[in-house]
Structure formats: structure tokens, C-alpha cells
């Protein structure tokens, strides 16, 4: 399943390319390339492969479920193994596990670390300040949001000017103010510098290490890795593009990704196709107000041309839960005639017979409406306003249901 980085924000981001969380193991691979120490480890997708990996790594290992959701430890998705046999047994249990709706397809086997202290370190894009924010805490290994709420003094934060960058004095300030243990300070400073470098060079929106551990032997090591990519920058990071492709699982979302359509699956039965994130969100709201349940968020994007509309409809119609389609277009850079042409082409190609409610306004609206009126099949209904279109779509969905 595609995993927009946060629920609320993902919808907004759909208008400019989603953000995408990587798996822990992918993040660790990237960290290692940027010089951040991580435990030695390997990926496995079968119990046997897990055993072989544990043998190569040697000693005690940890078997970790690779899922895009927190709380995997509590769910039993992280297990310590003394032997390769034990690693295999753990992997057998963890692979296929359902952790809060996420199926585990991969485990990460890594050398077990002796933890002396657990810290927290991250670099985030702060949307409010429009600057990177670096955070450090000696209270790692737990929910950092909780730490921020209950013991704000335990979390040191500093904003970075994106033109002059992260400097030594920032690292020092963080380390002193997070009260990092003296023996670990040098290692933490170095990791903060590398983490910031990774943040900028990889065009990420978030790099987070929780816990960042200080080991019994005196090393500072990233024991977890959370990396969120800015999809708008993927064109200059082919290696991240590959990682992204391996993350998406839902068939509609995977198809949407292939077709270059911004799509998020929801629970309802009214399929929605609109242009512009704001209008699509508003359409969901209006459908809900009319008593219906949206099946998805689909933003055909700015300037949607005929073949993009075809691609969008292919994605929507591949979802068997969709009973009615609501096409809500207000053309600016998008031109209504092209949307109409795309709609007809798609219906022709896909032969869909479900009811389709269309509202077309804006650039070239007259041509668009004329094309629909003259050429559309009988299952296509035109409504004059967004509100009436939403109501009609909900009625039709309830009719189908009944």
C-alpha cells in the first residue's frame, strides 16, 4: 500500500506529488551511504533466507518486520534471536503478520546491539518556518511526541537557514541542550552533520533516528531509520525512485503510480475524479454531506489531458467497490473539452456501464459539455453544479446498493 507520509497532509500533497516513507532497511542503506553507522544487516523475505542472513551476520541478531507503521515492537514484529535457527523461527512467525492493517512481506536481520543509552535525532522540513528543523533528545526509544508534550526541555530543536546550512555550532548547541552524555557527544555531533547532509542531498522531508543508541562499547549507532522522500525531487534520485516502487502494494495505488495519477484509496463506493487537490477534497466533503461515502481521492492534476483522464478512469474502474463515478472538473489549466474526450475514450476502451455523473465548468466548458451531450452513452449524466452532481451521485449509489 502506498503510504503518504501523514494522513491529513497527504491529501494536500497529492497536488504536488506525494511524499513516501521508505522501509527501515531502505533508510538504513541510505544512512550507511552517508556515513551514518548502522548495525550490519540483511533483508530476507523467507524464513530460510532469514536463517542464512543470520548465519552470515553471526552472533545474536534481531529480526525486524518491515512495515510502514509504528508499534511493530508491541505487535511482536521485533524479536531477538540467539541462533540462526531461532532467527528462522522468528521470521516464520513475523512474515505474513498483519500489523495494524499492514502485512509483513520482508524482515530485516541485523546484528544485535548492546545499548547503553537511547537518544532521538531527526531533521524535518518545518512547513511553518519553511526551514529544516533539527531535533535531538536524550530521551530516545520512546514516542518523541509524548516527550515533547510532557518534558519539552528534554527535546532540543534548532532551525537551519537552508542557504547557509547546518553548522558545527548548531550541532554543539543541540548536544549540550539535549544533555547528551559526554562520552557520546562527539559521535552524536558527527551523526547530526551526516544526517543533515542526507536530508538535503536526498531531497527528503524527514530523516529520523529513534533510537539513536550509545552502545556499551562507546559507539553511536542508528538503530532505526525513518526516511520520507519528496516525490517532486525523484527525477534527480533514480535510486530513490526504485526504492519507492518497491513500497507500493495496493493494486489501484500501484496502477495509479504507473499511470502517474495521484490516488488514495478510501472505504466508500462513490468513485471520485476531480482536478486539483482542493476541489477533490471539497468533493469528498460534499459527497459526505449528501450522505454518501467516497471510494477514493483521485486528483487528475493540473492540465489533465485526454490520456491522463483515461489513465485516471482505468485506475478508478479497476476498483470493484466503486458503484458510481462522480467526475467533477473545474477547468483552469485543465480544458473541459479534453476531459470530455478522455472520458469518452475511456468508456469506449473500458466499456464501463456503471452510472457516471459529470460536472464540467471552466476553460472550454461549452465544448466539453457539447462533446458529452452529443457523444456520451446513456449511463453518463450531466449535472450543472457540484452540489447537485454530488447529490445525484449519492442517490445513484444508494440506488445501486438497494
Amino acid at each position: 500500500m502506498a503510504l503518504p507520509s501523514d494522513g491529513a497532509i497527504c491529501f494536500v500533497n497529492t497536488s504536488q506529488g506525494r511524499r513516501l516513507d521508505l522501509f527501515e532497511y531502505q533508510g538504513k542503506q541510505l544512512f550507511a551511504r552517508h556515513g551514518i553507522p548502522v548495525p550490519r544487516g540483511e533483508v530476507a523475505d523467507t524464513p530460510e533466507a532469514a536463517r542464512a542472513a543470520a548465519e552470515r551476520i553471526g552472533g545474536k541478531v534481531v529480526v525486524k518486520a518491515q512495515v510502514q507503521i509504528g508499534g511493530r515492537g508491541k505487535a511482536g514484529g521485533i524479536q531477538l534471536a540467539d541462533t540462526p535457527e531461532e532467527a528462522e523461527a522468528h521470521a516464520r512467525k513475523i512474515l505474513g503478520m498483519d500489523i495494524r492493517g499492514h502485512i509483513v512481506h520482508t524482515v530485516w536481520i541485523e546484528a544485535a546491539s548492546e545499548i547503553a543509552k537511547e537518544y532521538y535525532a531527526s531533521v524535518t522540513f518545518d512547513r511553518g518556518e519553511k526551514k529544516p528543523l533539527v531535533m535531538l533528545s536524550a530521551a530516545g526509544g520512546m514516542d518523541i511526541e509524548e516527550v515533547a508534550r510532557t518534558r519539552p526541555e528534554a527535546l532540543a530543536t534548532v532551525h537551519i537557514d537552508p542557504l547557509t546550512g547546518f553548522q558545527a555550532h548548531h550541532a554543539r548547541w543541540l548536544v549540550y541542550h539535549a544533555a547528551i552524555d559526554q562520552g557520546a557527544q562527539q559521535g552524536v555531533v558527527k551523526i547530526l552533520q551526516q544526517l543533515y547532509q542526507a536530508f538535503t542531498e536526498l531531497d527528503t522531508m524527514l530523516v529520523e533516528i529513534n533510537p539513536l543508541i550509545w552502545t556499551a562499547s562507546g559507539d553511536v549507532v542508528a538503530l532505526d531509520a525513518k526516511v520520507t522522500i519528496d516525490n517532486n525531487a525523484l527525477y534527480r534520485h533514480p535510486e530513490l525512485l526504485e526504492m519507492q516502487q518497491s513500497v507500493t502494494e495496493d493494486p489501484q495505488e500501484r496502477l495509479a503510480q504507473e499511470k502517474g495519477v495521484t490516488y488514495v484509496k478510501l472505504d466508500g463506493d462513490v468513485g471520485i475524479l476531480g482536478n486539483g487537490a482542493g476541489l477533490v477534497m471539497s468533493t469528498l466533503d460534499v459527497v459526505a454531506l449528501a450522505g454518501g461515502r467516497p471510494a477514493n481521492f483521485l486528483d487528475a492534476g493540473g492540465g489533465s489531458k485526454a490520456d491522463e483522464v483515461v489513465a485516471a478512469l482505468e485506475v478508478l474502474l479497476s476498483d470493484p467497490k466503486v458503484k458510481v463515478l462522480l467526475v467533477n472538473i473545474f477547468g483552469g489549466i485543465t480544458r473541459c473539452d479534453e476531459v470530455a474526450t478522455g472520458l469518452l475514450t475511456a468508456l469506449d476502451k473500458l466499456g464501463a456501464t456503471l452510472p457516471i455523473v459529470v460536472r464540467l465548468d471552466g476553460t472550454n466548458e461549452d465544448e466539453g459539455r457539447r462533446i458529452i451531450a452529443e457523444q456520451a452513452p446513456a449511463n453518463v449524466v450531466v449535472e450543472a453544479t457540484m452540489l447537485s452532481a454530488a447529490k445525484r451521485a449519492v442517490e445513484l449509489a444508494q440506488g445501486v446498493e438497494a
Partner: protein, 291 residues
């Protein structure tokens, strides 16, 4: 009156020979906007429907006195185009381009905000001052001259709400799409401040959506500084709460970023919030009638 674009606007269109650039530059000109120049590297001497093309923005500014630049350049080249516009010295830059990486925009923003130029966008539909000038991609037929200042993060929602206003006979002084990207050149507060200073704007309609905390910040600002009445709409009540952007995201904003949270923040500061575009237009009508 109007804000940002009007009869004094002298527009240079960056990327004018591209499909979208040519289409919308021509439409903007047809609306009455003074489109004085276009820029496409290597195409100096050509013209697009009578608009002369230059190799560089600086050339265009020097030759035509352009004071406003519109960026219609694909995202990979748009950051460069933005810096070029900034260095050309134009007062106002309107960036339509969608898909510019956030890190690039953080740098552009930091650079720009230290000077006196204004950036609208990126990923925005532009600005229209009905009857005076249209710079961008908005479908002009839904806008009429009037006394509402409209500012929005969403392009298509802007059109929707303007159409609802038009149905009630309400027009606008100016309509500003600030863009939906995480880093945009001008915020709600920037634009609301301009509308508040405009004697011909009697009401401000602010159209927000989920994510970030710009609406919450605007609510605080409006309560403290703005005398013009404001009504608002927030899109995204049906967006599922879903996953947080790391734990880091929520800590920063100190706000949930949800539509409900934004609605409550605005209402707590006396800004009425509609639940759908039609209702927002009705609220606007009531607010205007009460004046």
C-alpha cells in the same frame, strides 16, 4: 482597486513558447492584461501572437519595462527561472509551475524573503483582478468586478467558490491563488494584509485546506490586525486522519492540521466557516449585507 495585478501590470511570461505558456499568455492578453514580453532561451526575435520573445528576463525587463513575471517553465527548470526573475528586478513573480522540489523552494524562499519582491506560488493558478488584469490560468468567465477579496490555497476550489459567488451576484476586487505547495512565496497573512489595506475590498474570503498551520496562524493574525470582515472555507473534512508525518511533524506545528482543527481555530477568532462552497458564498452574501 485591486491588489497585486491591475492596469499597471506589465507582464513578462517565462516559458512563453511552450504549449501552456503560449495558451495562457494569449488568454491573459485577450483579457486585457498588458502582456509586454515572453522569454524562451534561444528564441529571441520571435513572437507569440504579437508578444515579443526574449532570450532572458533581464533583456525583457530592460526592453519593455516589465514589472511582473509569470513562470510557466517545467519543474526541473523552474527554480532557475525563479532566480532569473528575482535577479531581473521585477516587483512581482507569479509561479504557476507545479512539482518544484521542496528543498529548492526552501532556498528560493529564504533568498527572496530577504528582499522586497513578492512571489505568488508555485503551484498556483495566478491572480485575477476582474475587469483589470488576469495573470495565470484562471477561467476568467467566473469572475466579476466587485468588492470581495478572495485568497485560496487551491486553484480549482477558487473557481468553484467564485462561481458560487457569481451565482449570488457577488464579484471580486482581486482573487489570489497562493498555491498548495508546502513552501509558497506568499502566505494567507501576506495577502489578507494587502486586502485589508485595499479600500475597495469590503470582505475577505479565505479558502484553506488540511495540512500545515497557515490557517491557524491567519486566524490569530486576523483577530489581532484585520478590520475587514473575513469568511472562510476549509476543504478536507473527509480526509482520514491516517499516519502522521513521523512524530516530528505534529511537534513542529503544534496543530493537528485537520479541517476540523482549522475550522475551530478560525471560529474561535470570529471567522465564520462554511462547510461547502455554496454555503461560503451565502455567508459572504450575509456578511456584505450586514455592512
Amino acid at each position: 482597486m485591486s491588489i497585486l495585478v491591475d492596469k499597471n501590470t506589465k507582464l513578462v511570461v517565462q516559458g512563453i513558447t511552450g504549449r501552456e505558456g503560449a495558451f495562457h499568455a494569449t488568454r491573459n492578453k485577450a483579457y486585457g492584461t498588458n502582456v509586454v514580453a515572453g522569454v524562451t532561451p534561444g528564441k529571441a526575435g520571435q513572437d507569440v501572437e504579437g508578444i515579443p520573445v526574449f532570450n532572458t528576463v533581464r533583456d525583457a525587463v530592460e526592453e519593455t519595462g516589465a514589472n511582473t513575471a509569470m513562470v510557466f517553465v517545467p519543474p526541473r527548470f523552474a527554480t532557475d527561472a525563479l532566480y532569473e526573475a528575482i535577479e531581473s528586478g521585477v516587483d512581482l513573480i507569479i509561479c504557476i509551475t507545479e512539482g518544484i522540489p521542496a528543498h529548492d523552494m526552501m532556498q528560493v524562499y529564504t533568498h527572496l524573503r530577504r528582499g522586497n519582491q513578492t512571489l505568488i506560488g508555485p503551484n498556483c493558478p495566478g491572480i485575477i483582478s476582474p475587469g483589470r488584469a488576469s495573470v495565470g490560468i484562471m477561467p476568467t468567465q467566473v469572475f466579476n468586478p466587485g468588492r470581495v477579496g478572495l485568497v485560496s490555497r487551491s486553484g480549482t476550489l477558487t473557481y468553484q467558490i467564485s462561481k458560487e459567488l457569481a451565482a449570488l451576484g457577488i464579484g471580486q476586487s482581486s482573487v489570489v491563488g497562493i498555491g498548495g505547495d508546502p513552501v509558497v512565496g506568499s502566505s494567507f497573512i501576506d495577502i489578507v494584509t494587502r486586502f485589508d489595506a485595499d479600500p475597495e475590498t469590503d470582505l475577505i474570503v479565505m479558502v484553506g485546506e488540511i495540512g500545515g498551520n497557515e490557517e491557524e496562524k491567519a486566524a490569530e493574525f486576523i483577530a489581532a490586525n484585520v478590520s475587514t470582515p473575513v469568511v472562510s472555507y476549509i476543504a478536507g473534512f473527509q480526509a482520514p486522519p491516517g499516519k502522521q508525518m513521523g512524530h516530528a511533524g505534529a511537534i513542529i506545528t503544534g496543530s493537528s492540521g485537520t479541517a476540523q482543527g482549522k475550522k475551530e481555530a478560525l471560529e474561535a477568532k470570529g471567522v465564520r466557516v462554511g462547510t461547502n462552497p455554496t454555503e461560503v458564498a451565502e455567508l459572504a452574501q450575509q456578511a456584505l449585507a450586514a455592512q
